[in-house]
Symmetry: C2
Subunit: 322 residues, 2 copies
């Protein structure tokens, strides 16, 4: 009797969101075991402790469930972060005491496994490629339209990462040169216009009060003209971004996820498809389809498996080249 090889063993997964902290074991086929979610503690040290505790529980359950010991830990977290060192840089949505914190090493040592850290959007892009809406597709773009806007670009089956592994910031496409200020300090970025934060800020500035993007959408449905203008601007900017993305990457598929995209559904995707059809280069437009994401709330957990695979492939290559 042989013990299972690494590829047959589950992966520990941590999805560290601004609001929810999720953990699970991911089996090699993508199924989740010992799935748990709790509110993310706002206090940094408490958050690391909560993550460690939940992962420890999941790890213990791996033994009792007979699925083999976890081979590694994959962590999805808000950027910016440094995947090479597993360190959080200065994520605006997390307690400042975590800026510069070596999250992967800390949790990996506590759990006695190799640990890998990657941006939530990149993890989601990988997950949708392995198990979701871009399965079997070598050239695709993943976009999430949520509190912020982010994405991941896969070209010829490889995640576009760049020399610092920081590439793929699709929320920072400049769309409207003199448009609203983005969290990054620039003006008119896609995220500043079409994200939940962008829509809510526009609502505040236009006198609708301190309401959520979902509420702005509901007001639009109820016939409010200001809400309609705000949502229309968000959809129009998103459509223009899609034309640019299709011209630029020539993808076979664009997968769109995130709370705002799910809430808006075809109301967001149809104008984007129409714009691509009318305005993108003919062949690029004929190649691409624009579809909703499939994996929902579990995308960051499922993606931990894809992340560990990607990291292991990279380590193999580095060893061969050393």
């Amino acid at each position: 009797m042989t013990s299972p090889g690494p590829a047959d063993r589950p992966v520990l997964a941590l999805d560290l969101g601004g609001t929810q902290l999720r953990t699970a074991l991911v089996l090699p086929d993508g199924r989740l075991v010992a799935r748990r979610a709790e509110r993310t503690p706002t206090d940094g040290p408490a958050m690391v402790e909560a993550a460690g505790r939940a992962l420890g529980t999941a790890s213990a359950e791996a033994a009792s469930a007979g699925v083999g010991a976890p081979q590694a830990l994959g962590i999805s977290a808000p950027g910016p972060l440094d995947p090479a060192t597993g360190v959080l840089i200065d994520p605006p949505n997390l307690d400042r005491r975590l800026w510069g914190f070596p999250l992967a090493t800390t949790l990996g040592q506590a759990l006695a496994v190799d640990a890998y850290l990657e941006r939530d959007t990149q993890v989601a892009a990988l997950a949708e490629g392995q198990f979701g809406a871009a399965r079997g597709i070598a050239d695709y773009v993943y976009l999430t339209v949520s509190t912020g806007i982010g994405g991941g670009v896969v070209i010829g089956g490889r995640l576009m990462r760049g020399p610092d592994l920081l590439a793929g910031e699709l929320g920072h496409l400049t769309i409207d040169l003199d448009g609203p200020l983005c969290g990054c300090g620039a003006r008119g970025h896609l995220e500043a216009i079409s994200s939940g934060t962008g829509i809510a800020r526009a609502a505040r500035e236009r006198g609708l009060g301190d309401i959520s993007a979902a509420r702005v959408a509901a007001l639009e449905d109820a016939g409010d003209e200001t809400a309609h203008q705000i949502m229309e601007y968000a959809r129009r900017a998103f459509a223009a971004a899609l034309v640019t993305i299709v011209d630029l990457f020539n993808p076979t598929r664009v997968v769109v996820g995130g709370g705002i995209a799910i809430g808006q559904g075809e109301r967001l995707l149809r104008p984007a498809r129409d714009a691509v059809e009318r305005l993108a280069f003919r062949r690029q437009a004929a190649r691409v389809d624009i579809v909703p994401a499939l994996l929902g709330d579990d995308v960051g957990l499922v993606g931990a498996l894809s992340l560990v695979r990607l990291a292991r492939v990279g380590e193999d290559r580095d060893r061969r080249m050393a």
Copy 2:
């Protein structure tokens, strides 16, 4: 005595520009032999004939110069075109009778060599990487600011091409949502604002008459306020595009070529560097430098060598995978 292998033999090069038709032999070290330039005939069939004649002469000179028979032909031409089949699609700058014309096959058969066709901007990107300003750099972006704006993106040493080999259209970044109309039909693309065509069109619309972008720049230097506003808008849009490019691709270098960029020099590049420094993500900004292209008018000829190498690597891979 052995005859030289393919990699030791020169490549025939054709750079088919809207105004100049250039041909040469490119030696394996990038040196040019039998270099020739003439005005591009506006008549499509005459253009193909002129190209065939010039290439035939270059080929004959290869024999007399003792540099070995050409191993292949590399063609740089205005897009859109289909590199897989070597067919021009519908390039707005070439006679309509050439739309759909199988340029690579036609010239390759006439000269009895394999022939490869690629977009001028992609060829230039390859050339700057092999012999120019991005030599030895694995992750870079090439941008040309000229009559139009185009580019090429190299990631991990590979040209980003996409499933139809049409990726890399950096001129079609949406920069100003309600900005001027682009040749492609969309509004506010970088090319519509910062290219020679965009600047000249703005001059016409703002009452400066039917003048070139170089003339608008000269008027700015002479203190004309309208010309200044037009040039300032072009530079500002270019700077915003650079921030997006740096955030998105995390390149080690951005190489900027083309007539407008050469004419403007630091006046175009300095504000772009400043914007990247202030507004791009910190690590991406620290990684990148933004520099002028090195290869000048010969870039399309030198790049023919890079193009043939790229195509041959692709063919090798396809054979191994078949």
